[in-house]
């Protein structure tokens, strides 16, 4: 018995040693087979629109296919969990908006830990949104909207893509910071909400896909949710410019690996992504979907996850948003 234990122990030791050398060898030759890039949402949405150009660019840069795999479900939890539990060998990566990392864990018990389960690699895009209002309300600027909402508490209705999504959180932020009352109606996804916004059934939304409708004069853009203005709408101010502090938060996307992925691979990927983000081709691609790419080091992303989580938790508590 004792002999068997000893054998098992030495076998385990040998295995660890072997795994160690294998890991470094892996990092040097990585990637020598296709890399799976998991997006935790159904195909066709914003995550897809950001993820696919990146998968294509990375495939070209590394000479190995980066295969997009959409694993939707449970508000992004299923796909995110899949990566958290995947082998940390650099061949399974996650591309996700901040929701699964800095919002969901405050609202629900998630089967992963946003900090401990992942090693951040790079920030790949900030989706710039804005608040839009239906012309039937009769307001044209943010101060007018706030004045209107103060005079008619609870009369305005906004639609969101669902509970706990950025489309809800940002308008709740506005309500909290300015003390106005706007009724929330949750939808299944923003397309669903847009169906009711265009005829004016609901009057307000925080969305990016509506910008063509703003250009067509069907909706009015009140502000930009970003630190800088949008070149397509140079006259529309940011929330900070409007005097509403700490509310200009974009939806930000990042690529992460499961914890334990060799440092070399992470560094290699980060370097390449930062380099690609500066190319005109990638800038143009992101520009058409209203995405900007800030460059960040892995350690900066880890810190930002903490900051964003705290900020969202504060808002979720103040606005009394509950899921379970």
């Amino acid at each position: 018995m004792r002999r068997r234990e000893f054998l098992a122990a030495s076998a385990a030791a040998a295995a660890t040693g072997l795994a160690g050398t294998r890991a470094s060898a892996q990092a040097a030759s990585w990637p020598d087979k296709p890399v799976k890039l998991i997006l935790p949402y159904a195909p066709g949405g914003a995550t897809d629109a950001i993820g696919r150009p990146w998968a294509e660019a990375l495939s070209k840069a590394f000479g190995q296919q980066f295969v997009v795999e959409n694993r939707g479900g449970a508000g992004g939890m299923i796909g995110t969990e899949a990566v958290a539990k995947a082998a940390p060998d650099g061949y399974t990566l996650l591309l996700t908006p901040n929701a699964t990392l800095t919002v969901l864990p405050t609202l629900r018990k998630t089967p992963y830990d946003p900090v401990k389960s992942f090693a951040p690699i790079a920030r790949v895009g900030d989706l710039v949104c804005g608040f839009v209002v239906h012309p039937s309300v009769g307001v044209k600027t943010m101060p007018e909207l706030i004045a209107y909402a103060k005079k008619n508490p609870g009369k305005l209705v906004y639609g969101s893509a669902g509970l706990g999504t950025a489309t809800q959180l940002r308008i709740e932020m506005l309500k909290w910071k300015t003390g106005v009352d706007i009724l929330h109606v949750p939808y299944r996804g923003s397309a669903d909400a847009l169906n009711d916004l265009l005829p004016g059934t609901v009057q307000m939304m925080n969305e990016i896909v509506v910008l063509p409708h703003v250009k067509a004069g069907k909706l009015i853009l009140l502000n930009i949710n970003h630190s800088t203005r949008n070149p397509d709408f140079p006259d529309v101010p940011t929330l900070t410019e409007l005097g509403i502090k700490d509310a200009d938060v974009p939806i930000w996307y990042s690529i992460l690996a499961p914890t334990g992925t060799p440092e070399d691979i992470i560094a290699k990927l980060n370097e390449k992504i930062v380099e690609l983000a500066k190319t005109d081709d990638m800038k143009a691609k992101m520009r058409t979907i209203n995405v900007e790419v800030p460059s960040q080091k892995p350690s900066e992303i880890a810190d930002f996850i903490g900051v964003d989580t705290k900020r969202n938790a504060e808002l979720i508590k103040a606005a009394n948003i509950k899921l379970e």
């Binding site: 159904a42 195909p43 299923i78 969990e81 939808y187 063509p212 067509a216 143009a284 058409t288």
Partner: protein
Amino acid sequence: MEDFFTNLGLGFSVAFTLKNLFWCFMGALIGTAIGVLPGVGPVATMALLLPVTYYLSPEGALIMLAGIYYGAQYGGSTTAILVNLPGEASSVATALDGYQMARQGRAGPALAICAIGSFIAGTIATCLIVLAAPPLTAMAQQFTPAAFFSLMVLGLVLAIVMASGSLLKAVGMILLGMLLGLIGTDVNTGNTRFTFGISDLFDGIGFVIVAMGVFGMAEIVGNIGNTERRDLLSSKVSHLYPTRDDMKRSSGPILRGTLLGSLLGVLPGAAATLSSFASYALEKRLSGVPAKFGTGMIEGVAGPESANNAAAQTSFIPMLTLGIPASPVMAMMIGGMMIHGIQPGPQVMQQKPALFWGLIVSMWLGNLMLLVLNLPLIGIWVKLLMVPYRLLAIAILFFCCIGVYSLNNLATEVHFMAFFGVLGYIFVKLRCEAAPLLLGFLLGPLMEVYMRRAMLLSRGDPYVFIDWNNQKLSLGFLIVSLVVVVVLVLLPNMRKAREVAFKEE
């Protein structure tokens, strides 16, 4: 009218290039192929092919993606008819009489009428898009949450019409379907319901999983346990193509189905799916022999199949005119546009007229290709039924599992399908019909969402559903539902006729 011809001319000049014709054909071909494979749906296929479209022109990419969609809609009815496997919600109604026709050796005419009906519906719906896209968009926007709720009520009433057996059982199945539909996360509160903490259930159970379980798998198990039933399948295949009488009986249903489908197709989500069920219920009502529906009536195939194809065409309207994806498939189309740097929205028609009209004309061409492609294939499909059932059954089960797995890459969902297979077998033994269950499953959760949304918007005032001034549509649907219920169920002589008809079976 001059615009109409200029636009159409532009469309033809784009769609008729050799390259685009090729992509249109490829799309229709791939679509048919995956439609025939049970469970593998257009969404998964389009997602798989999105990276390929990088290398095409935007027109070619969208033409191919669209081709996959209507090809799949078409192919889906092939398995519905041959082996009772509706791979899409829209082919459930087709399976009801189509499969019975196949069992009587009339698979050929059933498949042919599908192809012909789909082509006619596609042609008319394409003309409608060209002529009336903006007014149809405006019509769709008249639908408030209250109106959608009432439309769903009407839909459930139709489910009662569809059922051919016991009324009580039909209502029971609808209710059970609605309960199953409630599994998942509540949109309004975020509560998870009936999920037992399993995260794979947080988004509910997919329609395809339930449909393939209660229809396909249950049928296979039923056939294996019953040699007589099984032999029916391969015996006495008569003529391959519809007779003159078949064509005559189908022409009315095809036109009515096209109209229903074109109108409902513009609405988002399950409203489009409703069109095939609505057409089936309508044909059953109009028929002189409603009791024979469910036993292999060609009207029950022609109507729903035309409706579903017309709806598939007009469902492009909100995507093209507003940039709103009414279904996951349309979301994929939008994804395809964004890959090419085109922002979907109302400006597409003005800024990219070649793309817009080219795509629309390609839809008609695609439908023509489907017809040419599929009429000769019918003979091969029918031969497929000659394959010994012990082999066919295994092949079907195998493809079902692959198909369901491909939805979300989840093995758990294959287990769910097996569960519904067992449930479906029990239903067969209890003589409970699965179609009302599926309609309840589809409409129940939507009804809840729309009802609560309407109530939220009215600040809790239930009057919103019958408000003559602001909610005429909602009131109208509710009145029609009431009339149908009264006429069908409560009038004693009708009820008697229904029961007699049931006993005759």
